[in-house]
Symmetry: C2
Subunit: 342 residues, 2 copies
């Protein structure tokens, strides 16, 4: 068990600017559940800006370090070249802290492409892992979560990548969320084994032959109900499910709001029910979950949503603590070694 | 304009049995908007069963024909072989009515695979159309609909298929829904043109070079908001979006219900707001839309949901009327001829 938990946080990544990262980091250190487990947080970014925000908030200077990085990689930039040219960007500096062992994890709400490209080239893949994958915890209607992986790192995936996504997802759900023997489903257009495109069909065979708790194909309609603990797909399909979820929930809430305020009685009713709507929104609120871990690297990188607020950053940091405590990297390393020996 | 509109309806397809098809057909003939445009409906299936239901409901015998088909193709059967061996099934008989010109359209709530396989082999593709596609009208938060195509017919699609899906979708939205110069979006993981997997990247180029109103990539999060009129993707992605929508809406309504009844005040509020919830459900109710047209064939085939009720069947029939009035098949034929000449 790692008793020194230092987490690096990209102060420049969020759309809303450094304020949310600084506030999120301070809230994480004080959090009643996981705050005491964090040795230190390193805020990475423009020192003067960060210090100016920090100057206005009381905090424990021994547990909060500012690591200077003058450059910022913007979402419009081509990820691979931005990583190469902006050596002094918050993303590159933050990833290097993990590479050098000075931090156990890096949280960024910045460019997804740059975080993924940088994670792979700077921190590097675990030996035997062909492609690291993004994982996202989707809230399901059982009150729990489904780990959707790959959620966007590999838009063209081979069947053997999908097998590894499933293996890493299984380790994640077991070690971080405490799910016993996680149920693995292959996202597909039908329940029957012969269904799907050529990649899905080949992945089915690999998953079936593995020692995972593979429960077969999972139809997209059964994901929100929590039919599986890990939903495996390529990054194209995963990213579409992830983003569609976001847009659909927004659309439904917007429609409901229009309908609720359209008549007096409904409006009055909505006022009385507002507690229920608040709880509902909380259940579907991504800021509660934190970010998306990029798994398969020799270290932890968590991609937080660009529109993250301080709470989302705080929860992303909390997720890192659980990931580190669960020893996920070591478990994937050992799993990958076993595969190599097969 | 076809002044004789005869529509064949699979009486055996719906999960709930022949009753819903019979009731749906009768409701369609009486519908105030499109009922008078229908010359005749042919109910295809086990004659004795259908006639026994019809015997209990008053109807105009001149406008309702029963076409006997003793066999039923079940969803568990392998579509291609079922189509070949069950020549006297309601699906094969119904599709033959279209092929022979005895009906302008066939509506079935039966096995999707059998309807698609049978549609292609019995009715046949429009000359020049490489792959017919399923289209689905997704309700969006503008109060309108987005045509998602392909929604499941071609799980492995080439870029040139996607171009044709877009062309057919454009004709559909213009002719059936009266959308002027429909906005076509390519479902992708990012807005930028270089985003996506290899098929999406190549399809982007083809769409851009076409004379369609191509608005670029559409991110899945923008589909529910109605960012485009036609959302183009392969059948694997489309089917996942379609089924995910179904499951997600169900999950959200279930969660909301739990939250609303969990406290007294919310419960009382929900009672007052129930009109709004009813209107909301109506907006997201697939039975309002009808079925999914299978476009690109020399005739119209509409796949209704397996769990269709009489209203869904009625609305699927109404959708056929609009499709026939819009002359969609002829327009796709002429479009396809123009492509050939290019």
């Amino acid at each position: 068990m790692d008793t020194n938990i230092t987490i690096a946080v990209d102060a420049m990544g969020a759309d809303a600017g450094p304020q949310v990262a600084v506030e999120g980091a301070l809230a994480a250190l004080k959090d009643s559940k996981f705050g005491s487990k964090i040795t230190k947080i390193a805020l990475v970014g423009r020192q003067a800006e960060i210090k100016s925000i920090l100057g206005k908030i009381s905090h424990d200077v021994n547990r909060l370090e500012v690591v200077d990085a003058q450059e910022v990689i913007h979402v419009e930039e081509v990820p691979t070249s931005a990583i190469k040219t902006k050596k002094n960007s918050s993303i590159v500096v933050g990833l290097n802290l993990v590479k050098q062992g000075r931090a156990a994890a890096f949280v960024s709400a910045g460019s997804t492409g740059a975080v993924l490209a940088g994670g792979t080239t700077i921190i590097g893949r675990i030996k035997g892992i062909k492609r690291p994958a993004l994982g996202v915890l989707l809230p399901n209607s059982t009150g729990g979560h489904t780990f959707l992986t790959d959620a966007g790192a590999n838009v063209d995936a081979k069947p053997e990548f999908l097998l590894q996504f499933a293996q890493m997802g299984s380790v994640y759900m077991e070690s971080v969320l405490g799910v016993d023997n996680p149920r693995i489903g292959l996202v597909n257009v039908g329940a029957e084994r012969e269904k799907g495109n050529s990649v899905a069909k080949a992945a089915y065979e690999l998953l079936e032959a593995s020692d995972l708790n593979f429960t077969g194909n999972v139809e997209a309609r059964d994901i929100p109900g929590g039919a599986v603990d890990v939903a495996v797909c390529d990054g194209f399909v995963g990213n579409i499910i992830l983003k569609y979820t976001e847009g659909y929930a927004k659309g439904m809430f917007a429609t409901l709001k229009i309908e609720l305020v359209s008549r007096f009685l409904s409006r009055f009713g909505a006022l009385l029910s507002r507690g229920a709507f608040k709880r509902m929104r909380k259940r579907y609120d991504y800021t509660e979950v934190g970010g998306a871990p990029f798994i398969g690297l020799n270290g932890l990188v968590v991609k937080a949503h660009g529109s993250s607020n301080a709470k989302a950053i705080k929860n992303s940091i909390g997720q890192c603590v659980k990931f580190i405590e669960g020893g996920v990297v070591a478990k994937i390393q050992s799993m990958s070694n076993n595969n190599e020996e097969d």
